[in-house]
Amino acid sequence: MKLQRTLMSLSLCLFTVVTVTVTATATAADTARGEALADGCTSCHGVLGASQGHIPSINQMSRVQFITALNEYREQKRTATIMNRIARTYTPEEIEQLADYFTQGLAP
């Protein structure tokens, strides 16, 4: 039983890694689109995703963390005060584009 659970969580984990790896090569266009989408995020999460106060910064996460969190909010699988409501407005592709932008650490 325990082994089964471990295997299951391992395969889930692998699944996540594989999903993310497949699309890991972001084109410049993805990043540009990500930046356009990100303009909405920064109104709360701060310039370039660096926040002051309670709202978390979103410029220090790994790509996997970012995508996993946003998808879980989107699918109402992670509790939140408001992110579960906001994440509904992004498609999984847009979430990846946002991840491209916020995890590259670039600052215009």
């Binding site: 540009a32 930046e35 109104s43 709360c44 310039v47 002051q52 005060t81 408001i82 215009p108």
Partner: protein, 419 residues
Amino acid sequence: MQLGRRKFIHKGLALAALCTVRARAAPTARVGIIGGGFGGASLARYLRRHDSSLSITLIERDTSFVTCPFSNGVLGGLYGISHITFGYERLKEVGIEVIRGEATHLDPVKKSVVVAGKSLAFDFLVVAPGIDFDWGSIEGYSAKVASSMPHAWLAGAQTALLRQKLEHMPDGGLFIIAIPPMPYRCPPGPYERASLVAYYFKQHKPKSKILLLDSSDAFIKQDLFMEAWQRFYPSMIEWVPGSKSGKVVRVEPSAGKIFTAFDEYRAAVANIIPAQHAGRIALEAGLDAGTGYCAVDPQTFESHHHPDVFVIGDASIAGEMPKSGFAANNQAKACGRAILASIAGQSFAPAKLLNICYSMAKPDYAFSIVDGFEVRNNTIQLSFADQRTTPLGADANEHRLEADSARSWFANITTDMFG
């Protein structure tokens, strides 16, 4: 094969177009912005962050900006007005020319503006004047009367004046808020105002009452406000909808009297918020085409009537986006992307339009509405009609986290603009 290749080239060009939005623009482009609030200041900073060589001129009437968001906290005694006052020093430091003065004339064809008798011409002109009042909407009310019955709907001296009147009001007094017809700036604002003034009364003047005289029959986040009022201020706040003679039609300032169609009230302190329209300069330039607000492209915010003239923030008609500081900041970025792409001669990736609005009922209790938007039928429409707000019956911890988020949002968005 041929088709495939053409398709490939086409796609390649489209990608190149998207990439060039970030490219540095020709140093000759001049962008003029009228109004240094949530729309104008956000846009100036956004353009500068993306283009170090662009000539950006911000024309602003006042020496500092006092935010309407969080101004209800000043009325509730949570903090002083300095907490919501911001200067333009940082904008000047990053090379934005800030001209202090009122734009007295705007030529939307020449894209020129007159300030202090001097005419300035631009390649792109962004009009972000916020709102002005329709003084004739309430008989007996005027800019002069606002010194005895403040509107406090432009934050600053009016906020300080209303706070002073609330401080001087004796316990047991009646505080009346007259709420205008839609569309007006910050739709949940009057109800948050009632909540935070109730917070102040409960501590210092517990026998006092608050009466909301409304032009409308329903309001945004209504159930959440009512829930909070029931929890914290039972029997202190009364709301009269428009259909029950709530709409204020006349005032008699000398007697402190307020009249609706059928009823007469006498307030110890009156807060009269008149009907509104786009800022005067936009109307005088005809950007509203006589409608009171300015029609714009839903992705670029370019005026329907004049190329390379843009209207953002409260003065624009933005479909289902409300007139809020958050929305103006969001629209500024969308407009900024469009201007940068136009300078580069390229198409652009449209911005994501959002509005997130927190309302506080007391310092550790807030709730929110979250809206995503998309462009359909050439207008901005809500992406989701359901589950937009904090759920009813949420526990104290949820509301405390939302209040913490509200404060964090305020710090972040004002840093975006002024920090």
